[in-house]
């Protein structure tokens, strides 16, 4: 790697924004990997469109983080010049695409959360976060509808599609707990009314999942043990490979612009 990593002063609010921005960017990048490879043209466009929305959300959140930090970082530096241990995204979003069912289950778990989360965040005392939330909420609602329809179609489809969807649910389940966890810094932001406690949304998130999986004839796992680490930079082996692709141009040609 030709360029040094940037340093970020991670105050609670900067860290908060980076975590949400990283979620959106990494999931958006994963979905973009389907571009030109999806099982049909309509889904190729759908997954690319969702990727665009997520990368747009990430840009807003990175710009917000850079403004709050108040140094010379910007959205591009934050995306392209941090190493894997500096990334703060959920382990869920960095999981490989796998088959189509795994991609859609990952999207379903995330969108069911993002839909509730951004709607609640529209009441943030921070005007910029509330504005970002208002845009993201509309997009997430649409993403959730798309993913939900696919979960039902796959689960209540053929024996093969059902088995693949169930396998994906069982595999990804342990990565969902991290969405609802908060640390001390974020707890202080919650008390200040700047951000929402994600834990307060878990009940409604489970209701959405139950409603859709029931119609899809799929089963939600009962195991409670959850894998964590992404929020503090401890990632699965998959993220480094993703970043090497995402960052290769900026690392090779520093400061490159379109």
């Amino acid at each position: 790697m030709a360029v040094a990593n940037i340093q970020v002063s991670e105050t609670p609010l900067v860290l908060y924004a980076l975590r949400r921005a990283d979620d959106a960017l990494i999931l958006g990048h994963r979905l973009s990997e389907w571009c030109g490879h999806a099982p049909m043209l309509e889904e190729d466009m759908a997954l690319s469109n969702i990727a665009l929305d997520l990368i747009g959300q990430a840009r807003e959140l990175y710009s917000f983080a850079a403004t709050v930090e108040g140094r010379d970082n910007d959205e591009d530096k934050l995306a392209y010049l941090r190493d894997v241990r500096q990334y703060r995204n959920l382990l869920l979003v960095e999981q490989p695409n796998g088959d189509f069912a795994q991609t859609l289950v990952r999207q379903f778990f995330y969108s069911a959360f993002a839909d509730l989360y951004w709607r609640a965040m529209m009441n943030s005392r921070d005007a910029t976060l509330a504005a970002i939330a208002a845009k993201s909420e509309k997009e997430s609602a649409y993403h959730l509808r798309h993913a939900s329809e696919w979960i039902i179609r796959l689960g209540d489809g053929t024996g093969e599609s059902h088995a693949r969807a169930q396998t994906a649910i069982d595999h990804l389940w342990a990565f969902t707990g991290e969405m609802f966890a908060v640390d001390d810094g974020e707890r202080a932001l919650i008390h200040a009314g700047i951000v929402v406690d994600p834990g307060s949304l878990r009940g409604r998130w489970l209701t959405t999942l139950s409603d859709v999986t029931r119609e899809a004839t799929l089963t939600l796992p009962q195991n409670e043990w959850m894998q964590q680490g992404g929020r503090s930079g401890r990632h699965s082996e998959h993220l480094g490979h993703l970043l090497s692709e995402l960052q290769s141009m900026q690392r090779t040609f520093p400061g490159l612009t379109w």
Binding site: G28, E42, E43, M45, A46, N49, I50, A51, L52, D53, L54, I55, G56, Q57, R59, E60, A127, T128, A130, A131, I132, A134, K135, S136, K138, E139, A141, Y142, L144, R145, H146, S148, E149, T208, D211, V212
Partner: protein, 167 residues
Amino acid sequence: MVTVLERDNALRQRAWDAAANVVDPEIPVLSIADLGVLRDVVFDGDHVEVAITPTYSGCPAMNMIALEIEIALERAGFHQPKVRTVLSPAWTTDWMSEEGRRKLRAYGIAPPQASSSRRALFGEQAVVCPQCGSDKTELLSEFGSTSCKALWRCKACREPFDYFKCH
């Protein structure tokens, strides 16, 4: 005698008109005023600043629209114009003008249904075919050729068509 206020209003109107003529590069029959993307025109001293709002967070047309606005204002005699992006209030298809809806239909794209207020996970929608006017239509894909469109098909005239999504 022309008052300062009248002069400023005339100037602002001229800047607004110049910006309002910029069209969406993906749907060239719609101007950014029709779309509701153009939000405000203000003057900071001699410099004009135009506020626009993105339709979707990641819509790639926004960069081009911002550039086109700058070019249009330069051509209209405003020097070093600026374009600012505002997020709040979030853009909604409710802001699309009647004129915009009519132009869309004539162009072969079904305009968004009246209101964006929907919260049902699987909302029933009835979209009218822009070709033959039939309401016997079906959704092919929630996503279409751009962020703002979905792909539909008419069961009466058999034509596929784009639907400008409610947002």
